[in-house]
Each structure stands twice: as C-alpha cells, then as structure tokens.
C-alpha cells in the first residue's frame, strides 16, 4: 500500500504497476502528484518508457535453416496424408 507521501525510492518500485494500470485510483493519484513535483521520477519514468519502446523495436530471431527444412518435410508428409484421406 503506497504511503501518502512516498519517497522517490519507494516510487520507482511502483513504476510497472503504474504503466500496467494496476495501481488503485488513490495510489495512482499519489503517484501522479509526486510526478508533478519531481524531475528525478519524471526522468526515471521516461527511461522506463524508452526501454519498453526499444525492446519493442527489436527484430525477431531467425529460425535455423535445418529446423525450417525439417518442418517443411513434416508439412509435405502431412499434406500427402491429408490428400490421401
């Protein structure tokens, strides 16, 4: 439960709850009020948002060619059976 006057050190532990919209209304109000007065926490929150954005911009991993080829073979075998039915 968020104290009525959280320190920055307490607040940083709530950032994910805040971004996930999982803070109850009264705690969110306390969080946002703190933000209006605290450059440090504003910067920290923005760093979190940037982190999330950068993670989202990563390219997906490639499939190993052997794995893909094995699966293509499996597909062709399945297709043969399916056509046979």
């Amino acid at each position: 439960m968020t104290p009525p006057d959280p320190t920055c050190q307490e607040l940083v532990e709530l950032v994910t709850d805040y971004l996930e919209e999982a803070l109850p209304a009264d705690e969110r109000a306390v969080f946002e009020l703190h933000l209006t007065e605290c450059d440090g926490c504003i910067a920290h929150l923005e760093q979190m948002r940037t982190t999330i954005r950068l993670a989202g911009a990563l390219k997906p991993e490639d499939v190993a060619p052997e794995a893909e080829e094995a699966l293509r073979s499996a597909f062709r075998a399945w297709r043969e059976r399916a056509v046979g039915e």
């Binding site: 940083v12 450059d39 982190t51 999330i52 597909f75």
Partner: protein, 216 residues
C-alpha cells in the same frame, strides 16, 4: 523494416496452409518458432528438449489445423499446445521450475541502486534522488536510435534470468497482452508483474548507462 506481427496475417496464412501451401506454413514457422523454443525452454531442462517440444508442437498444429475454429487467435492456439507439451515434458523430466525457484532466481534487491537516493536519515529529503537521472529527451535523437543502443538493449535482455527474460520478451518485444502471458506461462497477475518489473528495471539500467555515457 518493421516485422509484421498482426493476427490477421496469421489467420490468412492458416487459410492458405490448409490448402496445402508449404510457403504459408514456412512463414508461420518463421514468425513463431524461435519464440516457441524460448517459451518451451522455461519449462524443460535443456535446449535440445525445448527444440523437440517446439517441433512436436508444429506436428500437432498440422494434425489439428482442420479442426481449428478460430475462436482464439492462431498464436494463442499454437502457444497453448506448446505450453501443454512443454509442461508435460518438463514434469516428465522432473525439472519443471517450481514456484519457489521463481523467487530464488530473482534478486530480491531493489531495482534501482540505493546509492542513487539520499539515505533514510537524511535531514531534509530522505529517499529522494541524490542526482536527477538523465531524461531521454536530453540525449541526441540519433543516439537513442543508434544500432549500438539497440545491441545493448538486446544483450541486456539476453542476460536476464530466464523467467524475467521470457516475460519481458513476450510482453515488450513480442507485444503479447498480460493475460496471454499469464495463461501460457501459468503465472498469477502479481507474479507476471513482478517479473516484468524486475526485467524492465535491469534493461533500463543498461539504457541509463548508455545515456550517461552520451551525456558525459
């Protein structure tokens, strides 16, 4: 080029796949296989077994594709099959990660270095930032968009403890909802959020290191 992750695209792939289009299947594989292996890896003890589970899942997907009724998304369906197989296999290998290991794996330490704050006995502002962190807007944009930063973020994610890595990957890299992640990994809301918080905090530290270098 931004990778395509739309659900509609995958529904179309399934339709073509059913008609025997091998390339549609290959595309579906390409979009999902690597992630399937990583998710499987959180349930089973070795990479080899994770690969096997993912391969078996594709066979089950093909066998069940005609019965797939599209009430859920393709992805939810595929990963549901995967999670069941991975859990079963993990139990068989007697190495499913128990919930208690969840706590052991994560450092219980604070997610921001306590040295960044004034101590609790500070006369005026205990627990307040001792110095203001770098705001991303105060860094040149080309630095924020640089390949080097992307690599550092990727590496920070790779270095995360397993459960943190998979939760952050699914939520932030792949864009899954909290509910999807909870269902596939069988996590409570709180567990999922704690893992996500710790994962994001570690990656944020890597970002902050880079921002501070820029500003030095």
């Amino acid at each position: 080029m931004e990778p395509v992750r739309d659900a509609r695209g995958e529904t179309a792939l399934v339709a073509t796949l059913r008609e025997g289009d091998e390339d549609a299947f290959a595309e579906l594989v390409r979009r999902n296989h690597a992630l399937m292996v990583r998710v499987a890896r959180t349930f089973v003890p070795t990479q080899a077994i994770a690969d096997e589970v993912a391969q078996e899942t594709w066979l089950a997907v093909l066998e069940g594709i005609d019965r797939f009724e599209q009430r859920s998304s393709v992805r939810t369906w595929i990963f549901g099959i995967l999670a069941n197989k991975a859990r079963t296999r993990g139990q068989r290998e007697r190495r499913t990660v128990p919930v208690s290991a969840l706590e052991r794996e994560d450092d219980a330490s604070a997610t921001v270095d306590p040295d960044r704050f004034f101590p609790p006995d500070h006369p005026r502002v205990p627990g307040h930032w001792a110095s203001v962190p770098v705001h991303p807007r105060d860094v040149p944009e080309e630095r924020l968009e640089s390949a080097e930063l992307r690599e550092r973020v990727a590496r920070a994610i790779d270095d995360l403890p397993e459960r943190q890595r998979i939760v952050l990957s699914l939520r932030d890299v792949e864009g899954w909802s909290a509910e999807e992640v909870r269902n596939v990994l069988e996590l409570t809301e709180t567990n999922q959020r704690v893992l996500l918080h710790r994962a994001r905090s570690r990656v944020r530290r890597a970002l902050e290191g880079y921002l501070e270098e820029t500003n030095a």
